[in-house]
């Protein structure tokens, strides 16, 4: 062959390169390439997760801030409601106290009235008993003639006096 071209040697070179290519691919290229790919994928995944986490954090933060703002509002509302309630309760209490007081006063008045009438009645009875006993005494006393006359005279005098006063008037 011209130029010393030799097919056996060409095939030997081909065989050599096939062995080399297979070995290098298996031993060096694939492991390194795989390592790099996995690292890149892991980093990309981490970056993605970080971005997601950041967004989530941002969202939570906004949510909390909103909640905090709402909490102020809520506290104010609750406070107002509590104040109103307290005022209401105080008012109710006062009213009920007043009502009870009125009732008590009323009851006391009634009781006093009852007592008064009772006392009057008892006084009445006593007076009549007194009058009765006095009358009885008087009747017992009239057994003396002289004294009866004197009593009549005195009575008549008294009546006359009273009559005169009435006329004058």
């Amino acid at each position: 062959m011209p130029l010393n071209i030799d097919f056996v040697q060409i095939l030997l070179h081909v065989l050599n390169f096939v062995i080399l290519a297979g070995g290098l691919t298996l031993l060096l290229f694939k492991p390194v390439s795989k390592f790099m790919r996995e690292r890149r994928e892991r980093f990309e995944k981490e970056a993605r997760e970080n971005a997601e986490n950041a967004a989530e954090n941002e969202r939570l933060k906004a949510e909390y801030e909103e909640k905090l703002a709402n909490v102020d509002e809520e506290i104010r509302e609750l406070k107002t409601a509590a104040e109103q309630e307290a005022a209401e309760a105080a008012k109710n209490y006062l009213e009920s106290a007043k009502q009870r007081g009125d009732e008590m006063i009323h009851a006391a008045e009634q009781e006093a009235e009852a007592r008064k009438s009772q006392i009057l009645e008892s006084a009445h009875t006593e007076i009549s008993e007194l009058v009765l006993s006095a009358a009885q005494k008087l009747v017992e006393d009239t057994e003396d003639e002289e004294r009866t006359h004197a009593l009549y005279d005195a009575f008549l005098l008294q009546e006359e006096e009273a009559l005169r006063r009435r006329r004058k008037a």
Partner: protein, 279 residues
């Protein structure tokens, strides 16, 4: 203090100068080295054709490039295995220096594959990674200048495998077959035809890499042939024709393979779209 410093420098200068003179004298005394057993014409011709200095490879008489190729494969696979066993399990999220280099290497080929061939990227990425590593290290391999004894008794330095036309043809045709196969698997007959219309690709790929590396080999051979050129010049030549070639050829082949692969596995479009794309 000042005096002793001055003295030390003087001693150094004298020793250095004496050493240089001694070496030059030795070279002149010995005359041209034993490499002269073959003339420069023979050496250059053998550099291109490898007709003379055959090496035994498991009983088969082959060009030294075959031995180079297998040595490189062995060393690279060993290194890869060691890296796989000891380095890869200890990879960290924040890479160290060594891990950074490995990652950068893989990333470079992956990015190139992705850029040139957005469809079915992983396969071509692995292929151009392997091809790139092979071309780069096999070209640098020349720098080590490992000596072997040829069948005819000459001592020769193992060349870069791809400076042998057989290795270059193997590389070019294998890459073409890889692209063709990918085209057929992904797009059926249409994909295969698409690749076949670039029938000149394997030849151009083969001879590009062969020519590039051979030029380096010839210049290096020329430089080393003359002892007088063995000072300083090999450093420049070595850098120019070895390291730069290693990088450039790796880049070129990886780009070409990924571009043509990308075209082969691209989803089949209508004729109008195709025309527009070509323009």
């Amino acid at each position: 203090m000042d005096l002793s410093q001055k003295k030390g420098r003087t001693v150094f200068m004298i020793v250095w100068g004496a050493l240089i003179v001694l070496i030059i004298a030795a070279i002149i005394a010995i005359g041209l080295p034993s490499g002269k057993s073959e003339t420069i014409k023979e050496a250059m011709k053998d550099g291109v054709l490898h007709e003379e200095n055959k090496v035994s490879f498991f009983g088969l008489l082959v060009n030294p490039a075959v031995v180079s190729a297998y040595v490189i494969t062995g060393v690279l696979l060993l290194c890869a295995a060691l890296i796989r066993i000891f380095a890869v399990p200890r990879f960290k999220d924040v890479p160290g220096k060594f891990q950074s280099v490995l990652e950068k290497l893989v990333e470079f080929f992956e990015d190139m594959a992705r850029g040139n061939s957005p469809h079915k990227t992983p396969v071509v990425a692995a292929y151009i990674f392997s091809a790139g590593v092979y071309i780069f290290f096999s070209t640098l391999f020349e720098l080590f200048g490992i000596q072997v004894i040829a069948e005819n008794g000459h001592s020769i330095a193992l060349p870069a495998p791809l400076s042998d036309i057989n290795a270059a043809i193997a590389m070019g045709f294998l890459s073409y077959l890889f692209i063709l196969l990918a085209g057929i698997i992904v797009n059926g007959v249409k994909g295969g035809l698409r690749v076949l219309k670039d029938f000149s690709l394997p030849i151009s790929m083969s001879f590009r890499i062969f020519g590039a590396l051979l030029s380096g080999l010839l210049v290096t051979e020329l430089v080393y042939y003359y002892t007088a050129l063995s000072f300083v010049v090999p450093v420049i030549v070595g850098v120019l024709f070895t390291i730069l070639h290693a990088v450039i050829q790796t880049y070129v082949l990886a780009t070409l393979v990924s571009v043509f692969y990308g075209e082969a596995v691209e989803p089949v479009q209508s004729k109008k779209d195709k025309k527009q794309r070509k323009e």
